[in-house]
Amino acid sequence: MATEVLMPALSPTMTEGKIACWVKKEGDNVASGDVLAEIETDKATMDFESTVDGVLGRILVPQGSEVLVGTPIAIVVQKGEAVPAATPKPVAAKPVPHTEEKSSAVTSSPVSLPSPSHVFSLEGGSHGKNRIIASPLARRLAQEKGIDLATLKGSGPHGRIVRRDVEAVGAKVSQGRSVEQGASHTAVPTSHHQSSLKPSTPLVQGGLAIAGGVMGGDPYKVVPHTTMRKVIARRLTEAKSTIPHFYVSVDVELDALLALRAQLNALSPDKGEGAFKLSVNDMLVKASAVALKKVPGVNASYTDDAMIYYDHADISVAVSLDDGLITPIIRQADLKSLKTISLEAKELIARARAGKLKPEEFQGGTFSISNMGMYGVKNFSAVINPPQSAILAVSAAQQQPVVVNGGVKVATVMTVTLSVDHRAVDGVMAAQWLAAFKAAVQSPMTLVL
């Protein structure tokens, strides 16, 4: 019997997917578990495995095309069976709601994630919410100006995005641009290949500047958004415009932690099984987990109806990619040893760079860390990753004089800034969390207990 293979929902936010490439060709034998195609989602490029055995009878959606979740993309037939002649025409990606059961019928990847954070996730499982309501003229203007409609708020009836909403943004970014012209601002962002961990805030600002770059008379290059860029723009705009952020900074001395790190790393075998190399970041992940257990009010999500407090500290670590960023998660960091955290982080980051993370490896999380220490950054604040309540921005550690008991000593000091959702966490609790974090870092033996 012929089976239609549908575009899977590889993440809860995914409403459409792009066939990055077909791994199998028409006529190839297919076994359950074989990778049929690589699919670019809003987050990553993922292998899409077959759930049926047979022969790939027909590819309905060519490489590079984007279709809605639930759209038939191929037909798998039994050996010797004829490929059905009349096949439904693939539907072009249009923002129409679809049902979960339709998409889950043939998908191999799990869609629903048991993490409680998803129950109330702002990303939402409601695909209807993702539908962009805009007038045809607004759509066309947005396309011409390179403005993502998902980043706009509609002022028309029922929140419909109309012409003036698009024009308002056009005017805003073109103004912004003229200011930047003096600084020879390029419209196309350069990618940071060398970077390992990067915060989200500066990236988003860069994203808005791109929209501005297509305005005006100067030469420019138009680079269409990747799905990841769109998601970054949408999610962070949502975060910044719906979450009342406040920021608390504290200086933390690192000398004890650095000494412990050297001691622990010396215990590692040179290579092979069991070899490890703890990074400062790994230890800060653990310190955050310790602080979250001490001040559990921060390990929480605000929803309209209730607060949600998480049992474990699932720490999202911001990882920069060539064309965006992603936040793989160290699950239950509170229960894990530094070594386990380190090995997991290393492996997750490598796969994140390769675009091979599974959805459950970057969706969810109860707290985030964004580390720009390696870039010598003095201080910065990060945008909260909803539905989390806080994100820690970590800056560079520097030796500096510190006054202790009336005398001056040299210490390695870094500034960390906690961005907090004031709906969930009040100022004192944020200060308490930072105190707990500081204590864990400055008395790092707590991290190995």
Binding site: S135, P136, L137, A138, R140, L141, V162
Partner: protein, 481 residues
């Protein structure tokens, strides 16, 4: 708080309101109905007729006359459809009587609607008369032969409309020089009729009287008739009018008017020539002026620019809680604009979010023969505004239904922004185009582009198919032409 006064029948009548509307035309009565719908207590003060000029002396009775003209035309052309109709005659008084009956019926309808909505209607002439101790506006209502009384209201909406503009030397005398009003109730058909002004009013009367048999001369000061309409549409109208036997003079400079007992003679200069035109009746249709006088504006901050009240996008005047809508607030002088402003104004008072009016989304309809309907930019205006445009046209001679109806004069013209596909304007002339223009108005209001219009399936056979074809003509080409 409800204030009271003793009414005519001895009962206590409410005199204190949330909103008082001055004028019961299509702006005022709709504002009153909407206000009542939103839960306000509402008073409406009207001096003469509910329904205003539109319903009593404008849109409605003229259309009733033009319906008679249409029937007259059909009867005279009945042989084209296989009928032998002989001895066609009409009784002008009965035609006028029907027109009046139509107006009366609809005015009664307005009265009923206001009653049903519990709007307190006061007959009389309202005048703003300062504020009371509670800072509510006082409106003095006077009525000939009756005692004046004062109403109070938090908000006052001025909707006193407009009247015909008088040209010096051409003031209507009710006898030989007519305004629209006399032209609506002719005692007998003028053999020779001179119409000054070729806007909507002038051309509609030209069509009516010509159809009924008058020799009509239409005079226009500017170089073309229907100055606000698209040039190509005007060219077709001009040709059709002349085909019907209407004499048209444009670029006319009016000279002295001499009145004889039974006729008038007007001196005109045009195209380097002079002429004395004698007619039985002359109709003055040279625009309108707002009724800004005697409504108590002097004691307020309400600003008047020439003959209209200055308002902002929410119909607010410069004076707090005084608003103005409709013809009083300036052009375009259209009943549907007045009604829309009435709704908008009241909703804004209620705190609702409202969409300010964009005049390029207001349709205009002229019921001359052939009819003219338009919305948005004319081709010339679009170019002036700096748009790079695509224009599509489709003649009604190529439309099946128009041929069926025997109404093939006319065309549909659409203007798109070349860059965005926005429908900038639509201009139609021909049978039933006044019923069709809303399609393009929806397209413009809903911000549709050529793509949606092209995708839209139009029903066959209809004259509206020519709208689709005109859009196709602007892009890949019409299919039926």
């Amino acid at each position: 708080m409800v204030g009271n006064q003793e009414g005519d029948n001895g009962k206590m009548t409410q005199t204190d309101f949330d909103i008082l509307v001055l004028g019961g035309g299509p702006g005022g009565y709709i504002a009153a109905l909407r206000a009542a719908q939103l839960g306000f207590s509402v008073a409406l003060v009207e001096a003469k007729h509910l329904g205003g000029i539109c319903l009593n002396w404008g849109c409605i009775p003229t259309k009733a006359l033009l319906r008679a003209a249409e029937i007259n035309n059909l009867l005279h052309n009945a042989q084209e459809y296989g009928f032998t109709v002989e001895n066609v005659r009409f009784d002008l008084q009965k035609i006028v009587a029907r027109s009046r009956a139509v107006s009366h019926q609809l005015s009664m309808g307005v009265s009923y609607l206001l009653k049903k909505a519990k709007v307190s209607v006061f007959e009389g002439f309202g005048k703003i008369n300062g504020k009371d101790a509670r800072h509510k506006w006082k409106v003095l209502v006077s009525h000939e032969g009756k005692d004046s009384f004062t109403l109070t209201a938090e908000h006052v909406i001025l909707a006193t409309g407009a009247r015909a503009r008088d040209l010096p030397g051409l003031e209507p005398d009710g006898d030989l020089v007519w305004s629209y009003k006399e032209a609506l109730i002719p005692k007998k058909l003028p053999k020779r009729l001179l119409i000054v002004g070729s806007g909507a009013i002038g051309t509609e009367f030209a069509s009516f009287y010509r159809a009924m048999g008058s020799d009509v001369t239409l005079l226009e000061a500017v170089p073309r008739i229907l100055p606000t309409e698209d040039e190509e549409v005007v060219a077709i109208a001009h040709k059709e009018f002349e085909k019907q036997g209407i004499r048209i003079l444009t670029g006319v400079k009016l000279g002295a008017l001499k009145k004889a007992p039974e006729s008038v003679t007007l001196h005109v200069d045009y195209a380097g020539r002079s002429e004395e035109i004698t007619a039985d009746i002359i109709i003055s249709a040279v625009g309108i002026v707002g009724n800004v006088e005697n409504i108590g504006l002097d004691g307020t901050k309400v600003r008047v620019d020439r003959t209209h009240v200055v308002i902002d996008s929410l119909c607010r005047t410069d004076e707090e809680r005084i608003y103005a809508i409709g013809d009083l607030a300036g052009p375009p002088w259209l009943a549907h604009k007045a009604s829309h402003e009435g709704v908008l104004c009241v909703e804004a008072i209620s705190g609702r979010k409202v969409e300010p009016i964009d005049v390029t989304k207001i349709p205009g309809c002229i019921y001359c023969k052939p009819q003219i309907a338009s919305v948005g930019y004319t081709e010339a205006r679009a170019k002036e505004a700096g748009y790079s445009i695509r224009v599509g046209k489709f003649p009604l001679i190529a439309n099946g239904k128009a041929v069926v109806m025997g109404e093939t004069a006319g065309m549909v013209k659409v203007i798109f922004d070349r860059q965005t596909g926005e429908l900038l304007g639509a201009h139609m002339i021909g049978a039933d185009v006044t019923e069709m223009i809303q399609g393009f108005v929806i397209a413009r209001t809903g911000e549709l582009t050529e793509a949606e219009l092209i995708e839209t399936i139009f029903p066959h056979p209809t004259i509206s198919e020519s709208m689709h074809e005109a859009v196709l003509a602007a892009y890949e080409g019409a299919l039926n032409f």
